[in-house]
Assembly symmetry: D2
Homo-oligomer: 141 residues x 4
């Protein structure tokens, strides 16, 4: 199944729809059932002590999974997260970007399910694990 949106199309969509995130987030690689998205970690993402804040990691996973799904169904701005679960397992490596490796596990007519591992660049140890369900509006397919 060929993607509906490639890396360039996803980048343009982000710039249009989420301009406030477009300079923090980048698609590193995109496959049929997988995407890797980078968070360029900045001061505003950090907690006291220098670790990346949980909500910033949640936000990275949320956008990464959203882009995974859009790459398959096209620019459906109305797809919404209905359930998200995240396990925070390790402190990120200080001063490193974060990478979210997403797998598409199900793409149904009305629900899509993905999971993700988040790691610091240059490390294989997972910082966080997440899974999310997106509801796809009827007009979305």
């Amino acid at each position: 199944m060929s993607p509906e949106m490639d890396r360039e199309a996803l980048g343009a969509f982000m710039a249009d729809e989420f301009p406030q995130m477009a300079d923090e987030v980048a698609v590193e690689s995109l496959g049929t059932d997988a995407i890797t998205v980078r968070l360029m970690v900045k001061d505003k993402h950090l907690r006291p002590g220098g670790t990346v804040a949980g909500p910033a990691i949640f936000s990275l996973v949320d956008v990464a999974i959203y882009l995974m799904i859009l790459s398959r169904i096209g620019p459906v701005a109305l797809a919404v997260t209905t359930n998200a679960t995240i396990d925070f397992m390790r402190r990120p490596v200080s001063a490193r970007d974060l990478l979210a490796d997403v797998r598409l596990l199900k793409l149904g007519r009305s629900l899509a399910v993905c999971d993700a591992l988040v790691r610091s660049e240059g490390s294989d140890l997972p910082v966080a694990r997440a899974s999310m369900t997106y509801a796809i509006p009827p007009s979305g397919r």
Copy 2:
């Protein structure tokens, strides 16, 4: 059990440790096993179409549960979220603040568990439901 930190102490802690959130979040009420926290919704929390972004709702719940736990164990900056699950159920009412009603379900030696319902001010319909586990460092009790 008397709280370790009251509303004023929680507000001062937020202003010191999370200055970037201190003007967005306010403790509405605080009990032994419950807290209500308000998110003053601003443009930066909104998605295209005017709904509050999922990560902003996640962030509200995260800080609300953190404050619930701090009120019982004192200002332990190192308590960390280990697991979070959130169900997004309804669109928030446009241009209204969000309120998170938190219940403390367990406060153990090393783990605390809370859940929360999030609603738009003036409505009883839940916008989101969340539960989180916090790990409490040994020095934290």
Copy 3:
């Protein structure tokens, strides 16, 4: 909104569709947005040491939430759990039945969301907390 199925109808449905559970599970009370379901704890539910096994608690919550939803939409055998999250917080009281108090948080056209607290009879301390999403087939409404 009047229920589609009352306690008697739910009991008859269980006896027909889930005969293996019908003598273990009983509806204690049923309201518009809430149900309480009892698990009559038996030896087969126990782990070594006498505590109730996690899967037995999961099963109690699953059937309790299923009955909550059926009471509103009628006997739709095809409603299926799509997501379940459970936090195990305390050991149950030995040799006591378990009670699951369910709240209906959302009943949409295609998804229903409930949460539940599980406690030992005679105790207010939650043994477990759970939330589940059910997908409702199009013919189900």
Copy 4:
């Protein structure tokens, strides 16, 4: 890191501690950070219509992750699940065993985190996805 318990030791532990499951569940393969466990599907696991019941899938994942952790820390019967999240994504293939492929994501002093994909034998499509946290008692390491 060499395992504390190999396949034979895990099988013997199951036969001793969980005799009621020992003839339904088998370790297919075991590595340092991964295990595959089979559920020999029987009539008692089925729902009306022939699909495997959600609680039976939950139970498979729970025991598979428990065995993954025991293989690393030894026969600590007191390790307990504290959080479990499961997404049910597809109906299993009728009359086929189920296989749970578990990954060990974190093995800390007090918490271990694993995830799992469940599939029908002979198929690559995931039936379910789950993640669980286990608390390891202090004497457990």
